[in-house]
Amino acid sequence: MRPTQIWRMPLGRIPQASYYDQKNRPGAALMRARQPYLVKNAVTGVCLLGFVAAVYTWTLKAIGQDDFSDVPIPDAPTQPAHAPHMSTVKSAGSAQ
């Protein structure tokens, strides 16, 4: 259905009819329209963030380093340390 408005040529300064003001901040009408939902949305946001934070905290704690204090650490090995991989074999097998 065609709307019943008449299209007029804008003359002079058109008053701002947007819900945001010149600096793109919400205007009074927008704040009034949001007002019934502010508290409920804030509570929902806090709950969601809290849930996410709880999941992160639990996960990080769960995969954190185990406590090995009850395992006796063996003494250092008696052989002198030498650099590993000193053999001249460079590949696992070669075609002969």
Binding site: R2, P3, T4, Q5, Q16, A29, R32, P36
Partner: protein, 399 residues
């Protein structure tokens, strides 16, 4: 006002019966002859007393309404100031049906209906004064109505409203503009606006806002009442009475194909007895009475003939009232006159989409009211079974 209103000071004689407990007439016990108001209050600019002495001695009772009167005065001057009125530019139909309207309060409704932002309170008052008429009706009939079984609507009311909502929210039928898209269309939803006074002269862009809230539905607004041509002197003389138009009604059809507005300058009982609108279908019809003054002593006798006919149609009737007292008085009058033949559809209470602007009564500056302050609804009582009147089939067989 200086020619109509009388000074409300208690030392004057009363000129009329008090119409409500808040009326200042029942305070008047004195012997001074009634005097017209002459002295203007310096704060609100409205003449409220006949002289400065009476104004000073009655100052406390004036102080209760002085702020409201000042606001009314300023709003009236604002209308005449000749400024640009961006709040009177209304949007077209809702762009997408899926973009639902939020009917929680004025601000959410205007925002979800894509109105231009009305930041200023005064502009909001001017705009809602007109928009209250179509949007009050829409707020009751729409399926996203803020009134529900939990607070205002009764179970019987929900039956009536569900029947209307079945028509007002039709499923998509695959119709289009080609031959293949032809679909049978239901008849228009008829809204009978009885006792129409100022609302019949509202600009048609305001009434078409009602149609924009219900896509794919056609409306027929029928204004009926002896004063339905108020403020419409340019449309006189009425069309001649012909067999096709036996009551000389003005029919306006140039409203985008979604709405037709007819105006009858006559009482509803006359038209009902002539079976002008019969049959009434509770899936399509609804009566709307904007501040009818059903219980008001000056107008209730005019409604006493119409009320039984309205109850007989079993169609829901939505009423509004100027103030809480006005609305309760109407309800009490209807309950008394109906003698049990009526069901409440919606309990009385404040209308969420009332006019935010207060209006002044010219005959009494202390009487401040606002358009459609309260809203309620009733309907003729439906009985599941009829009364047994004897002479049934079983009786005939035993004879």
């Amino acid at each position: 006002m200086r020619q109509n209103a009388y000074c409300p000071h208690p030392t004057h004689q009363a000129t009329r019966l008090a119409t409500s407990p808040h009326d200042t007439e029942h305070r008047k016990t004195g012997a001074l002859p009634p005097a017209h108001v002459r002295f203007e209050c310096p704060d609100c600019g409205i003449p409220v007393s006949c002289s400065e002495e009476h104004y000073v001695s009655d100052y406390e009772s004036h102080l209760e309404i002085c702020d409201t009167l000042r606001q009314i005065n300023e709003d009236d001057h604002d209308l005449l100031s000749g400024r640009l009125f961006p709040e009177f530019e209304y949007p077209g139909p809702q762009v997408a049906e899926e973009a639902q309207v939020n009917m929680m309060n004025w601000d959410t409704l205007l925002y979800s209906r894509d109105f231009a932002a009305i930041n200023d309170d005064r502009s909001m008052r001017q705009a809602t004064r007109l928009l209250t008429y179509p949007l009050s009706i829409a707020s009751v009939l729409h399926e996203l109505s803020p009134y529900s079984l939990r607070d205002r609507v009764t179970a019987e009311g929900l039956r009536s409203l569900s029947a209307l909502r079945y028509t007002l929210h039709p499923p998509r039928s695959g119709s289009g503009i080609t031959i293949a898209g032809l679909r049978p269309n239901p008849p228009p939803v008829r809204l009978f606006i009885l006792g129409a006074r100022a609302e019949s002269s509202l600009p048609r862009e305001v009434w078409i806002q009602l149609a924009h809230l219900f896509p794919r539905v056609t409306f027929h607004l029928i204004f009926i009442g002896p004063e339905s041509m108020a403020n419409r002197e340019a449309e006189f003389p009425l069309p001649p009475r012909t067999p096709q138009n036996p009551f000389g009604a003005i029919v306006e059809t140039g409203l985008g194909g979604v709405m037709k507005i007819s105006t009858y300058v006559d009482y509803f009982h006359t038209l009902h007895e002539a079976q002008m609108f019969a049959p009434y279908d509770p899936y399509f019809d609804c009566f709307v009475l904007f501040h009818p003054g059903l219980g008001h002593p000056a107008s209730s006798f005019e409604w006493s003939e119409t009320l039984p006919q309205l109850l007989e149609t079993k169609v829901p009737i939505i009423c509004t009232g100027y103030t809480d007292y006005d609305m309760r008085r109407d309800m009490a009058w209807v309950e008394k006159e109906a003698r049990g033949e009526m069901d409440i559809v919606m309990k009385a209470g404040e209308n969420r989409f009332r006019s935010l602007r207060w209006d002044l009564n010219d005959a009494d500056p202390g009487d401040v009211s606002c358009g459609n302050w309260g809203i309620w609804g009733f309907r003729g009582k439906r009985y599941e079974a009829d009364e047994y009147r004897g002479g049934g089939k079983a009786e005939q067989q035993t004879r």
